[in-house]
């Protein structure tokens, strides 16, 4: 596995759940405004 593929998979593993969490939190935060 090349370094580029490992970089992509590694950042995707942590990035995708993080984006999901941010998306859900922003949706909740919208209630404030």
């Amino acid at each position: 596995m090349t370094t580029q593929v490992r970089l992509f998979l590694g950042w995707a593993l942590v990035g995708v759940p993080l984006i999901y969490g941010l998306w859900q939190t922003i949706a909740k935060a919208k209630n404030l405004f």
Partner: protein, 469 residues
């Protein structure tokens, strides 16, 4: 398996890309960050155990106290055995904590929940929190604030993932539970299944970190990095101080107080966020801020907490650690003063000031490992960081005690106004002022505490260029 976990087996070969390390660190911190999402099933646990908020809240308190204690006790071990073995231990404790907790929930034995999530899981929290930090500092000697900010941002991000994720899972396990309805409560069986799921998933994700973490070779330097430039910055040492010696220096205790004050002040708002915004904007006994809007405020603070961990820590690489804490504590004082005096005039102003305070709270956590590196070197920075985290445990007890103590004396929840909060807010200002003075008193560590020689500390120009990026 045992040899695979050894530090010697995790030394990176030539050409290893250091940007593979932050995802490995984040894999651990995103998992243990779940600790801040316990509120989503708190009511369900109260109902399951036929208990009350205080008794269930103890579970979280035990976990945070164990975090500080295990980080302090195991810090030297973590530095000795390396990040891979430490992350593996953290994954085992964190995963096992959920499984034992699940048994406690399923059999309605609260002590098992205390033991599982609180004690066993709390040990996983402490080891997991410190395990990647010193490794990141060694991989990013040119940008330690950015590196530790990335990982510790993950701890804030973990709650953002776990909170909606747990609600979704509980709605699958209990068809009567609807997270969109405020009064809906999941069954104990659904929470037990949630714990089993989280225990297994978190263990597997943390194993990604175990398999991918690497320590740099002793002579490794980033491309274009000259360690001699570090020495030119105030407070930054290229010498090494052991953990045993660090706790004999006044700098350690000043920094302990700085972290304690910063965290205590932040918790003052975090603890009361939802009712606080409603109480600040009350007309004729009725709040103009709805429950949904107050929930949105909690979400905004979570974003500020997470963003502050990355943004302020990265900024500290440019402005320096001591000036950064002067901003956290000094501007924090002004922000608290603004909350107490003019915060009730407009919702946007209240939210802006609270966001600033919470971003400084998060920034304080993520900047402190780099501050320790500056003062004590990289030699045993993980162990020193672990000992410093006892300040977090102490603040976790002191912060809520202060705010709740003042509010309890002023009236009953649901009927409080801005006047009830002022004594607590002024107390937080005093606490921040103490932290500000302590930070001012921090000077370079005396040479008598330095190690005679160290292979870990960067002391000369780069002998080779190994990095591909």
């Amino acid at each position: 398996m045992a040899s695979f976990l050894d530090r010697e087996r995790s030394v990176a070969g030539p050409g290893f890309n250091r940007w593979l390390i932050p995802p490995a660190a984040l894999a651990v911190h995103l998992c243990i960050g779940q600790a801040y999402a316990t509120s989503v099933y708190k009511t369900a646990l109260v109902k399951n155990f036929d208990s009350n908020n205080t008794k269930i809240g103890i579970v979280f308190s035990i976990a945070i106290v164990m975090l500080g204690l295990s980080a302090a006790v195991c810090g030297t071990w973590v530095d000795r055995v390396g990040p891979r073995k430490a992350m593996f231990a953290a994954a085992c404790f964190w995963g096992a904590g959920f499984l034992v907790g699940a048994v406690g929930i399923a059999t309605e034995q609260l002590w098992l929940l205390y033991l599982g999530y609180g004690v066993i899981g709390g040990i996983g929290l402490g080891i997991g929190y410190i395990s990647p930090v010193s490794t990141l500092i060694k991989w990013f000697p040119d940008r330690p604030g950015l590196a530790t900010g990335l990982a510790i941002m993950g701890f804030g991000g973990g709650a953002l993932i776990a909170s909606p994720g747990s609600q979704q899972l509980m709605s699958w396990y209990d068809s009567n539970y609807n997270p969109a309805v405020a009064s809906s409560v999941a069954s104990g069986s659904a929470v037990a299944k949630l714990f089993v799921t989280l225990g297994i998933v978190y263990f597997l994700v943390m194993m990604y970190g175990v398999f991918n973490i690497r320590v740099p070779a002793a002579d490794w330097r980033p491309a274009g990095f000259d360690p001699s430039t570090l020495k030119s910055k105030a407070l930054v040492t290229t010498d090494s101080v052991s953990a045993a010696n660090a706790i004999r220096t006044p700098q350690f205790y000043f920094l302990w107080l700085v972290l304690f004050c910063n965290v205590t002040a932040g918790i003052g708002i975090l603890e009361q966020a939802s009712p606080m915004i409603q109480d600040f904007f009350r007309e004729n006994g009725t709040s103009t801020v709805t429950v949904a809007a107050a929930g949105g405020f909690v979400g905004v603070l979570s974003l500020a907490n997470m963003g502050g961990r990355f943004i302020w820590s990265t900024t500290s690489d440019a402005v320096g650690r001591k000036p950064m804490y002067m901003i956290y504590l000094g501007v924090g004082i002004l922000a608290y003063l603004g909350l107490a005096t003019i915060g009730h005039n407009a919702t946007w102003l209240f939210v802006l000031l609270a966001m600033l305070i919470i971003s400084f709270y998060g920034g304080g956590f993520s900047t402190v490992p780099a501050y320790l590196r500056d003062l004590f070197g990289t030699f045993q920075v993980g162990a020193i960081h672990g000992r410093l985290l006892t300040a977090w445990s102490a603040a976790g007890v002191a912060g809520p005690l202060i705010i709740n103590g003042f509010l309890d004396a002023k009236g009953t929840p649901g009927k409080l106004t801005v006047d009830a909060y002022r004594p607590a807010l002024y107390t937080m200002i005093a606490i921040l002022a103490v932290g500000f003075v302590c930070n001012l008193l921090i000077r370079p560590v005396a040479s008598r505490f330095h190690e005679p020689s160290s292979d870990d500390a960067p002391t000369g120009p780069a002998p080779t260029e190994r990095e591909k990026v």
